[in-house]
Symmetry: D2
């Protein structure tokens, strides 16, 4: 169905100069969806000590794109997405879970839940939900 697997997706993530220093890690990538994890550090925060909305948006964008790629292949771009923030991002790590809701030949609609993880034993808390559209792009075979 697609040329993407866990190893290739992980390699794509590692080759994103923006993702590497942020610390995003690919946790899973299969037919059930995509999980990206981001251990929360001070550098991810805004002036009130919570995770910056931009970090949540970044993580959702990336998880949606990889989910789209799981259906459409590696040559995809995110056309756009909507994110709703539910609670302040405060904890030890973020976990974004994205899945394909519907995929055609050239476009996939995906949804993503971003959880914030707390101390050991604490249940993950949903802190953002996102919905977006990923499009396949034509690339030269040599690309």
């Amino acid at each position: 169905m697609t040329d993407l697997n866990f190893a290739l997706a992980q390699s794509a993530l590692e080759r994103q100069p923006f993702s590497e220093p942020l610390g995003a890690e690919l946790i899973s990538f299969d037919a059930h969806g995509v999980e990206l994890r981001l251990p929360i550090q001070d550098k991810h925060k805004q002036q009130h000590g919570f995770v910056h909305g931009g970090v949540l948006a970044y993580l959702a964008d990336n998880a949606l794109t990889f989910a789209g790629g799981s259906a459409l292949g590696s040559a995809v771009v995110t056309s756009g997405f909507t994110i709703n923030y539910l609670r302040p991002g405060q904890g030890t790590a973020l976990l974004a879970k994205a899945r394909v809701v519907h995929a055609g030949k050239t476009q996939a609609v995906c949804q993503c839940e971003v959880f914030v993880l707390g101390a050991a034993g604490e249940a993950p808390k949903l802190c953002a939900v996102a919905q977006g559209t990923i499009a396949a792009i034509d690339v030269p075979k040599s690309a």
Copy 2:
């Protein structure tokens, strides 16, 4: 109308640990809207050499939030937003222009255009549009 002015908004931006290393600069903050500029560096890119969608989303989120703050005051959070990517982010800098479309007492709807700037003399190109909702939050007076 609000307790926010250019100097305070600039200070808020500088106190965002996530924004500082990214290099976002407040260019204007007044009744006409908010402008944030981000000189493009390699660290902002994804694996294909374009600005990462997460950077565009971050910049739009931040510009929308500051625009909301211009109407509602400094104690605001972004409830959510929608972003559509229009073209690859490729150039020397990003410029996000956000404005208030409608503000009530506790909520403002704002829109944002993100332009990519090229070489001197080149016209800015619109590379993303966003629309979002910013909510006033209750904070203790001492906060």
Copy 3:
């Protein structure tokens, strides 16, 4: 938690002059969410013979609002929502299922799936997904 139950929600739906002639019916309204059904008629269509996107948007908007009401009470308005259309609406009826993703005191974020039902024995097909924000409004006690 809320003053809304199935009978009151059904009554609210029946008192919507826009909903009544369209034929929307409340199927369920409980802690698990809200279901609205709309038997497809010719009057719901666009020029190509499919259900008009506006009908899908109307049904999603209404289901999201009722879901928000299940958490926040009857005095709510929909602040906004996003809808993605997945496939043409073609069949015998639409079924919108909405649920609360997160509710605070004054705002709820809800998601909705709109299915199109076909001939007996056919599996329902997902034809749109929506995500929106519902806000509680202050109303005089006598309202």
Copy 4:
């Protein structure tokens, strides 16, 4: 650029079984954008006497689609859109103004403002803003 003009767009609108009884009228259709007008009637309302959100969503959806058609031609579908409601729809008519923000070969991003018109001499009030994506579809030449 496109096979659509005012007369053809008007004809398409008239051939929408859902639009005709609602009373939507095409006011303008040119390079500057699209305007749809809807005289408010009781049948457009919800239980509180305001225009139903579904009517605003329908009108925005339709205006966005026609705007997309002005760039991409008559064979288009709306992929999805986001709408924010700003104030209750109360007045004599709705006026939706949509324009193309960016168009590629197969996709256009459009924005729409929905105004509510009041008594003669009153300024139109912005009551909703929407942003959406319209996609060109392949149709057989004979279609």
